[in-house]
Symmetry: C2
Subunit: 493 residues, 2 copies
């Protein structure tokens, strides 16, 4: 039982929601699986999980995934663990059922094949009781959907060897997971104990008619849940303590532990020993990061999470969309100084825009230019109301020149210049510069005004021209910017 043992085929005992999720994670990472499940519908159900998982992975990463592994359905637990390199058990949460299944399969699987159990809370010492070579049983507790969530809790029983724990860790890491090695065996392990406490409180809230299922869910997903996607409660509370950190937080909220702020009234005594333990563990967790640094990290994560959810249009992302829609409506003022190129946007380069050189990735200049010119269009009255009349602008062609570097954190000022305007087309040029005037890039775009129903060009509306024409006339007097009309590959001055 060595950690370098090869991994090619996995035996799966149980192919329900969790077992199917394991199948998907292993198969998408190039491993073959053999599945045993008593449900006659298992094959169809796993097919549906696989479809979900393939869809999710196509969005999750641009990295080249290995060739998919194969799925074989077998009729007995013995067949599922024959000629496999690792076994994952995901049977229903009934102790006797799991014990019997593990005992049966373990009589066939060679001693060096480690077994992980997906149990949510049954002790590994109980699970390994009747097994042949019980020392190779660990709990490997995943979270639904198994193919996406990284966490897997690894917990050994009385007889489990260190080597078995390490083998399980290595296997789970190979498929992109984040193992959490638990030191002690306890009912519910760590994650489910936390989730279960909250769940029991939630059941009381429904039982007592305080809130509905939907209200309880909303109370999490629009608030604390957003933070929990990247920081647990201890880190969150450390930051809430402000400059004085965890000790201050505990001093302020410690007394509330005795208050009836939950039905869970059996609380540990918050004496000096426990307080010191919490404070020192929190210090260790924060490492060298100051509260201000942690605040910035927290805010960056929250912004990233909410922007991500905005793309899906769900939860806090829906709230953000509605907020932005309100900000956009009517807020864009018409440009006043039109004799020179018009400043339309200032924007900071964020970390996700950096390429492997540490510079802003080339395609982001196109995005900067394009999105800044959207702001220009809005400023001349191109609004949601205008779009609703069935008219819009389509971009025909774009060109970007990369002139100097910009880096994460740089503030970029984008100015817009009208190069030409006719009845149906507008030709715009943008300059992207540092605040000291250093030009980093320029963009050039032709937009065609179209009737979106007929899908053909039509004259630009007079409600836009009233603002756009004076700008075009004023800009016609300006010198043509460098690079206008350039083509890719033209020799460089």
């Amino acid at each position: 039982m060595t950690t370098s043992k090869q991994l090619k085929t996995i035996g799966l005992l149980g192919g329900g929601v969790i077992g199917g999720g394991w199948a998907a994670r292993f198969v998408l990472n190039g491993y073959d699986v053999k599945i045993y499940d008593v449900d006659p519908q298992a094959q169809r159900k796993i097919g549906e999980v696989m479809a979900n998982a393939r869809r999710a992975y196509a969005k999750l990463t641009l990295a080249p995934l290995p060739k998919e592994g194969t799925i074989t359905f077998v009729d007995t637990p013995e067949a599922a663990v024959t000629d496999v390199d690792f076994v994952q058990e995901s049977a229903p949460e009934r102790v006797e059922l799991k014990q019997e299944l593990l005992a049966r399969a373990s009589r066939v699987a060679p001693a060096d094949v480690v077994f992980g159990s997906s149990t949510s809370g049954i002790l590994p010492s109980q699970l390994q009781r009747d097994m042949t070579f019980p020392e190779r049983l660990v709990v490997g507790h995943p979270f639904n959907p198994v193919y996406l969530l990284p966490l897997v809790e690894i917990c050994g029983g009385d007889k489990t060897t260190v080597a078995a724990r390490e083998r399980a860790r290595d296997v789970y890491e190979l498929i992109g997971m984040r193992p959490l090695m638990l030191k002690k065996e306890i009912d519910g392990f760590v994650a489910d104990r936390l989730m279960e406490a909250m769940w029991r409180e939630a059941l009381w809230l429904i039982n007592d008619g305080i809130a509905t299922a939907e209200e309880i869910d909303d109370a999490i997903r629009f608030g604390a849940g957003l933070r929990w996607s990247f920081m647990g409660t201890f880190m969150v509370y450390r930051i809430a303590g402000g400059e004085a950190g965890m000790r201050h937080f505990m001093a302020q909220f410690g007394p509330t532990l005795k208050w009836p702020w939950t039905k869970f009234m059996n609380v540990p005594e918050l004496d000096d020993v426990l307080l010191e333990k919490i404070v020192s563990q929190s210090d260790a967790q924060a490492g060298t990061r100051t509260i201000r640094e942690l605040e910035v990290l927290r805010d960056d994560c929250l912004v990233a999470v909410m922007q991500g959810l905005k793309q899906v249009g769900f939860g806090a992302g829906e709230t953000l969309s509605a907020y932005e829609k309100k900000l956009f409506s009517g807020a864009t003022a018409a440009p006043t100084k039109i004799e020179a190129p018009i400043e339309v946007q200032r924007r900071r380069i964020t970390a996700d825009w950096a390429d492997y050189n540490g510079h802003t990735n080339d395609s982001r200049y196109m995005q900067l230019s394009s999105e800044a010119l959207d702001v220009f269009f809005r400023s001349i009255g191109f609004s949601n109301d205008y779009l609703a009349t069935g008219r819009s602008f389509f971009t025909l062609e774009s060109h970007v020149r990369y002139i100097s570097e910009s880096r994460v954190g740089d503030e970029i000022v984008v100015t817009a210049q009208v190069i030409s305007l006719d009845a149906k087309k507008v030709h715009l040029h943008s300059v992207m510069a540092q605040t000291d005037g250093t030009i980093v890039a320029s963009g050039e775009h032709i937009y065609l005004h179209v009737d979106t129903k007929l899908k053909k060009a039509c004259p630009i509306g007079s409600e836009l021209l009233v603002l756009l024409e004076p700008i075009a006339k004023a800009h016609a007097k300006l010198p043509k910017p460098d690079g206008v009309g350039r083509f890719v590959g033209q020799s460089i001055k």
Copy 2:
């Protein structure tokens, strides 16, 4: 006290972590604030919160924010509530202190000025006890950081009017929040009861030496916490029930309520009445969405959240980065068929790439082209190892033609063609097409090979040329693609 009452100036009683967060949210949304706080450091601390909030908002949205409101520091609670349109109290969590502060301020503020209290769990009936016009007191419980998290719980006391609750809701919605209107008054309201139950369990885990603060946090943020950022426990469990939904989930996990999976053993009786209540509330919450639809929604949200966190490089985003790095290392095979343009990538258009026309946003074609050509470069040996030798490619110039429309969900095939290659430069052309061959866009880019330390051009390494030259030679025999050498504004064929 009408909901249409204007909102211009807000009185803030307390300017700590929460009060400062309120200040930032109101000010960034264009409202003036008056702040009373006894802390002599309040002004500096709020300046720091404002700096964090400005930084976060610059990243949060491209929407044009209104002109910032002003901040005025005052010396008395009375001054803070004079000539204001709404009051928010965020004093420390001590009942008597809050009662006295609210009583004092309420003697000065006109009857139609509603008071919100930020208390985490004190009953509004207690808080309004000594107030003048107590009926205008509501709890408006926010979450840290107040300037980013949308949730605010609104809860009235015995004397609170419906109009006061509605006024508070309207005020909070004006600043982009997501009010949750609670029907009943209860210690800890809803969100904090849930958080507190989990917190008490966490303290037991530390007390009993089961896990450290860091392990407890990790058990949340790599698992359930990712889901809670967009779906609460009821929705998550409904999905976990699989096709049979909530009833099946409760049947499977109901018995575990009696198990010691937390120290919280005082559980409600899961009888038919409670079970029906949960199932029917869960049905109402899910509406017309099937389990399969909910699974897809959950997966889209998880992918978006993890990708967002990848940008920050924290938590599950760090796990995803490490996973991708492993996938990228060595996995990109050299192209084999080089006589024609080389297929380098297939990629689906995701929802966040759509513009107001419902089409793929113009700048995303540049991103498609650029990122697909990154894959091409990797396939000819341009790896992290190569970069580590101090050599890289910088893009000089790009051109994109928009030829036909693509929409969310379309799969786009990107092919690459070498137009020319010399010692230091490579000129590439990409074609982006639907799977039926319909071309949607084309890209053209010139890359200069540089010594990244000297910041000057240098010859392309022989380890790349060995693969790149044969491709360039083969592609030299191909016809030049349409549009190569075009400039923006050139008349269209």
